[in-house]
């Protein structure tokens, strides 16, 4: 149930049309909560029905015409309530880690190319975040900007971690030689977190 709240936050920061929101989700908010335009339009419809946002009056409201939304007081209240509610964070869900685990059983074909590719992606993302930080938050003073900077620093920290881990992984994998580990080594009991209790 986070997408509607992501949209409310974005609309409070600036009233926007569906496509404008989509573009902003490709950049700022979307850095940690992505959404496609289909999701956004559907959710805008629901939020309007619930009376949390409204379309700004337009001369010609029609299909293909721009339609801007703003947050109503009920929407702000709903967002404030959600933001202060207890919520558990979801566990990690990362396909690359899963693939490494699979590679331990079916072989490491193409693994180092893939690690290198991901390393390049994370290095680029890290550089982007750092550019944003020095451009927009060189002297963050008010609480609002300090909170936004904190969020950005989470992105920087995460990308920094991935870069470091991928470098470690490449060194490890490069060190293993060409043996592919295709044999049925899966019969042993070793499993991260599992040896004694399986």
């Amino acid at each position: 149930m986070s997408l509607p709240h992501a949209i409310l936050t974005a609309l409070l920061e600036r009233p926007s049309s569906g496509l404008e929101l989509t573009r902003r989700f490709d950049r700022s908010i979307g850095y940690f909560w992505s959404a496609t335009h289909q999701q956004i339009y559907r959710e805008l419809g629901k939020l309007e029905q619930r009376g949390l946002i409204r379309a700004l009056p337009s001369e010609r409201p029609a299909r293909g015409q721009k339609k801007e939304f703003e947050v109503l007081p009920a929407g702000r209240a709903e967002l404030a309530e959600w933001a202060s509610r207890e919520q558990e964070s979801k566990p990690i869900r990362d396909a690359l880690l899963l693939r490494l685990r699979a590679a331990a059983v079916v072989g490491r074909t193409g693994l180092d190319d893939e690690l290198r590719r991901h390393l390049a992606v994370h290095r680029r993302q890290l550089a982007e975040y750092e550019a944003i930080e020095s451009r927009d938050f060189a002297a963050a003073a008010d609480p609002e900007d300090r909170l936004r900077r904190l969020v950005l620093r989470a992105g920087i920290g995460l990308e920094t971690f991935w870069v470091a881990w991928l470098e470690e992984a490449l060194a490890e994998v490069g060190d293993m030689g060409d043996a592919e580990g295709m044999g049925d080594a899966g019969a042993d009991d070793t499993e991260a977190g599992g040896r004694p209790g399986e």
Copy 2:
């Protein structure tokens, strides 16, 4: 499309029944790809239909009776193909970061309690990973275990990051005083990654 491959990996490591898989997903594999028992049973059914796994012959196959599965050669091939295929990693999707962003607009009520709560969770998880590492991977030698250890080290790195970031966040938020920032400060143009291009 990762859940079937997570299951294939787990079954190659050890043939199991649905509930056994569920328990293993609560620990090792589930640390980075979680799944409920309903998802697992549904997926086991599909994998069996596709001829990628089969149920081990049992005396009395019936409802309520344990039913163990093993991976067929076609399943191993499918997993090997998937593991070597190019795949993009999904962007970050974290509700806590979203809530910080919302808090910048609607106020920080209850935020520091929530940060403290998350900090405790991540500290506990980090300790758990570290215990697993020293217990199961004190002397990892073969490539299979080195890959599994690498995956575990990703978990350790991520939790380490979160602990550090949450400590930083608590210091920042504690430093902001009791002003709640409820004013309509959202009308300014500042947005992480957005100032010039919005």
